[in-house]
């Protein structure tokens, strides 16, 4: 067997790092679009109308039962077909990252809607009533009174979901996206499977740093948002 080659690790890192931004774009894009969809789902789940609750519940359930990689392939192969048949729109040539973003947005929205819903429900409804009773509109009451407090409650779970997402995101290479992992795969195959360990180790290290970074950022956010609580 070929001996372990530490020098290769040092050589491979500069080749991987340029693709860090692809990985980060997937994460940030998914957090953005997934949160929007998650918000809509949470809103539906909290709705008085049984149909909306039911639809949101159904969606969340289906997503929970679907392995990420399966959804990724369904979107990658299915979405172009769907768009062609239904909208007569050819999206086959779209960038890979588009399909990755669609997939992970669909995935991320489900747990994040639960995080949002439970954070919303953690804030005493009486504060909302007090706000509308002195003349705020329902939206103002939500935006100025409930949302800031629910955000504090949601942040730790939101952070965990982002870390989960980042790790799930490493599946994107399977449809050919060249992100950190994708580039790693390319390097390994260029070397005919040699140096796999020397490639995966720095990848693990980069993901470790990313996770630490996300954790730290969320701790900071929590700190900033809950300053008023600490004053108590």
């Amino acid at each position: 067997m070929r001996p372990f080659n530490p020098q290769f690790i040092l050589d491979v890192i500069p080749n991987l790092l340029p693709f860090l931004w692809v990985t980060l774009s997937v994460v940030l894009g998914t957090v953005f679009f997934g949160s929007l969809l998650g918000f809509v789902l949470a809103r539906a789940k909290l709705s008085q109308k049984p149909l909306y609750c039911w639809l949101a519940d159904g969606y969340i359930y289906i997503i929970r039962c679907t392995p990420s990689i399966v959804l990724l392939f369904i979107v990658f192969y299915g979405l172009p077909k769907f768009c062609l048949e239904v909208f007569d729109m050819d999206i086959n040539g779209y960038e890979k990252i588009f399909f990755v973003l669609v997939t992970f947005t669909l995935l991320f929205a489900a747990p994040i809607s639960e995080v949002m819903r439970s954070a919303y429900e953690a804030i005493d409804h009486g504060q909302y009533e007090a706000a509308v009773s002195i003349g705020l509109t329902p939206w103002q009451a939500f935006y100025h009174i409930i949302l800031p407090q629910a955000t504090v409650v949601a942040l730790p779970n939101f952070g965990n979901s982002v870390i989960e997402l980042m790790k799930e995101g490493s599946l994107a290479y399977t449809i050919g996206l060249v992100d950190l992992i994708g580039k790693g795969q390319l390097i390994i195959s260029q070397n005919y499977g040699a140096y796999a360990l020397e490639t995966y180790l720095p990848l693990a290290f980069i993901y470790l740093l990313l996770t630490l970074g996300v954790e730290k950022s969320f701790l900071r956010l929590e700190h900033a948002f809950s300053r008023q609580k600490k004053a108590a």
Binding site: Q127, A130, S133, I134, Q228
Partner: protein
């Protein structure tokens, strides 16, 4: 000024309000008495549209509306003319005392910040909390929190303030500081509808007393008449149960 007629409200099969009428003129202090579960809270909440009545008519100055079919716009207009003081204060936990009071002005009424702060500071001075403006609700005693609740309500200069048992959640030694403020408001001619179990206070401030039971108004009239010579058996029973306690307290 405010007249509501034939208010009905059901929770599932439980008929909580069975056709209640109330008429409030400017400067009135209407006190609503009644045993627990008689629908007093629900009535106040329906007036402010925190609950939606199944039936009922409301005339409020120039507005005239059906309570079950009020539009969001009508609801907003009525709420701009009223304020609510809650049993458990419901202060905004993420806002300081001052911000609690300015919210209804700055956010709800688009009043400019400087002016809103002026109005809020006046309201807070009235409830004796000028030295607590930068505190958060969690740093205050129950009595102080309820006084912030009152300041928040008076700052928006509503036509009517609705009080739902404003002292029920307070330790006995804190009750009088809150009742004192409400009494002062009454003396200044503030129009109020107050649900309370404090009988002596009720007799003191009320211009009109309503006794409710089981979703109906059983009896109403001047405080003197209701407290000293109630006509209905149910009113007499209720007062007999609650009045001796008051005498012990004094």
């Amino acid at each position: 000024m405010l007249k509501i007629t034939n208010v009905h409200k059901k929770y599932n099969d439980n008929e909580v309000l069975k056709g209640v009428d109330i008429n409030v003129a400017k400067g009135d202090v209407v006190v609503i008495l009644g045993p627990s579960g008689s629908g007093k809270t629900t009535l106040l909440r329906c007036i402010n549209f925190l609950d939606h009545a199944d039936q009922g008519e409301m005339e409020f100055d120039e507005y005239h509306l059906q309570m079950h079919s009020a539009t969001a716009d009508e609801v907003r207009k009525i709420r701009q003319k009223t304020a609510f003081v809650f049993q458990n204060y419901n202060l905004f936990q993420n806002k300081t005392v001052l911000e609690n009071v300015t919210a209804g002005l700055i956010i709800g009424r688009n009043i400019e910040k400087n002016e809103a702060v002026d109005l809020a500071l006046k309201a807070l001075a009235k409830v004796g909390l000028s030295d607590r403006v930068n505190f958060y609700p969690s740093q205050l005693s129950g009595g102080q929190q309820q006084r912030v609740g009152i300041a928040r309500a008076i700052a928006v200069q509503p036509d009517v303030i609705l009080f739902d048992e404003p002292t029920s959640a307070l330790d006995p030694e804190l009750i009088s500081e809150v009742l004192g403020i409400i009494k002062q408001l009454a003396e200044e001619g503030t129009t109020m509808i107050i649900v309370t179990h404090e009988m002596k206070f009720a007799a003191d401030v009320a211009t009109h007393v309503i006794f409710m039971a089981d979703g109906n108004i059983v009896e109403e009239g001047r405080p003197k008449d209701i407290f000293q010579s109630p006509k209905e058996e149910r009113t007499r029973n209720f007062l007999r149960r609650v009045l001796p306690q008051v005498e012990y307290n004094i």
